[in-house]
């Protein structure tokens, strides 16, 4: 379990990285924390001919840009725990980070890496889809902003073209009257999710004015729940009909059936996690948490 040969390039600037990625095209992969890529390389399931090391690039800012929270691709998962902007605006995001791997992985793994790897059960892709985040990708030629819902194409497959890399993820900042939560079930702490569900909601006058819900573990990419989102509209925060929402979500999906969990179990989990996520978010909205 050692990687095949590759050529190593240390990018000295973003432009340098993009030039290298452009030059080597499909043969090249950027490497940040390496927490997902290097295991695949050690198993020789991934064998890029060129690795472009982007770790020394200044891509780790968490900042407000206009109406968006922009998170640089190299931001490590551990950075969110104590970050005031995350705590203030993105409770579902903050919940989700607690489920990512283990301390050492959180210290080294990056958002760009997690998003680009596109593991169907990973937390940050689900959070990005939940928040309608823009994945900001660059090539030597251009910058593109791809909606998260369009970025994740299938398991481990993204809309990234050869020569492109993720440079940031931008999350629309929710209005003040909003809340969210993210819940996950896995066999052991830190494992990939058997299923997870996230919600963000906006509220007005004690009622839900807008809602977004996502689940992972049900399909090859994180799945939004338009039926549930409309079901929640105008529901009272103290009686959001969460159980019914769970039933609606569960009925709308066709989860995988594999050696980790049956489809029926996943469907049931998503129903229950939906209920819990909604109740937690509503309770937070009501200031009870």
């Amino acid at each position: 379990m050692r990687p095949a040969t590759f050529e190593y390039h240390r990018a000295t600037s973003l432009e340098h990285a993009l030039q290298l990625l452009g030059e080597f095209g499909e043969e090249a992969r950027p490497i940040a924390g390496g927490q997902s890529l290097v295991p695949m390389m050690n198993f020789r399931l991934a064998r890029p001919g060129h690795l472009v090391d982007i770790n020394r690039l200044p891509l780790n800012a968490i900042e407000i840009v206009g109406s968006m929270l922009r998170i640089g691709a190299l931001t490590r998962h551990g950075a969110y725990f104590d970050h005031p902007l995350i705590a203030r605006h993105f409770p579902a995001f903050l919940d989700a980070v607690h489920y990512i791997g283990h301390p050492t992985i959180r210290r080294n793994g990056s958002i760009g890496g997690s998003i680009s790897h596109a593991d169907p059960t990973a937390e940050l892709p689900a959070v990005a889809v939940l928040h309608d985040a823009d994945i900001v990708v660059r090539s030597a030629a251009e910058e593109r902003r791809i909606k998260a819902s369009e970025f994740f194409v299938s398991a481990y497959v993204t809309a990234l073209e050869p020569g492109e890399m993720v440079v940031a993820v931008e999350f629309p900042i929710p209005p003040a009257a909003s809340a969210g939560s993210f819940v996950e079930m896995s066999e052991r702490s830190g494992d990939f999710a058997t299923a997870s569900v996230g919600i963000v909601l906006e509220h007005e006058g004690g009622r839900i004015a807008k809602a977004a819900m996502v689940c992972s573990g049900a399909g090859l990419v994180p799945i939004r729940a338009p039926d549930v989102e409309s079901h929640l509209l105008n529901r009272a925060l103290n009686d959001p009909h969460a159980e019914e929402a769970g039933r609606i979500f569960a009925a709308s999906i066709d989860p995988v059936d594999d050696h980790i969990a049956s489809a029926a179990y996943r469907r049931s989990l998503i129903a229950e996690l939906t209920r819990r996520a909604i109740e937690t978010a509503c309770s937070r909205a009501l200031g009870r948490s």
């Binding site: 490497i31 390496g34 301390p103």
Partner: protein, 164 residues
């Protein structure tokens, strides 16, 4: 081959390495640091944890070329050949190890945690201690003695009558 300079446990060497060489292999073979153990080579057991510029990192998921100019610490740096570090001593008194294979990885993961708790003057509960070691697998001890060792090292660090 790429030329890199590493400072490992106070020893600086300039080496020519193949890009694909894992840091774990370079530490073991070029620096003769046999305390770096490879348990899974896919980032799922924590055995190979070392510090890169002060931060715990899995040396099986790191290419040595990425570490050019970095400062690396391995278990050998903690308490020398007689294992004098307070966490090493606590592992011994609380029976936090049996076969010893996972032990360097646990120590390198937990030393910064113990240091942080001592520095901020906090005694974490067992749940928090267990979470701090959740990326490391021990197959021998059932974790009980390791949790006790961390508790003891923090207690020793805080001394009597410190904050709870």
């Amino acid at each position: 081959m790429i030329e890199i300079t590493l400072e490992v446990n106070g020893v600086t060497k300039t080496l020519s390495v193949e890009p694909r060489r894992l840091l774990a292999d370079v530490l073991r073979q070029e620096f003769n640091l046999c305390g770096v153990h490879i348990g899974c080579a896919h980032g799922a057991c924590g055995c190979c944890t070392v510090h890169q510029d002060g931060t715990p990192r899995l040396s099986c998921l790191t290419f040595a070329v990425q570490c050019d100019g970095a400062s690396i610490r391995t278990v050998e740096s903690l308490g020398g050949p007689t294992a004098e570090h307070s966490l090493q001593q606590a592992f011994r008194s609380e029976h936090g190890l049996q076969c010893g294979y996972c032990t360097p990885g646990f120590l390198m993961t937990l030393v910064p945690f113990v240091d942080e708790m001592v520095e901020i003057g906090r005694r974490p509960d067992d749940e928090e201690i267990r979470e701090a070691m959740s990326g490391n697998i021990c197959r021998c001890t059932g974790y009980h003695g390791i949790v006790a060792a961390v508790r003891k090292a923090i207690d020793d660090g805080l001394g009597e009558g410190s904050v709870a």
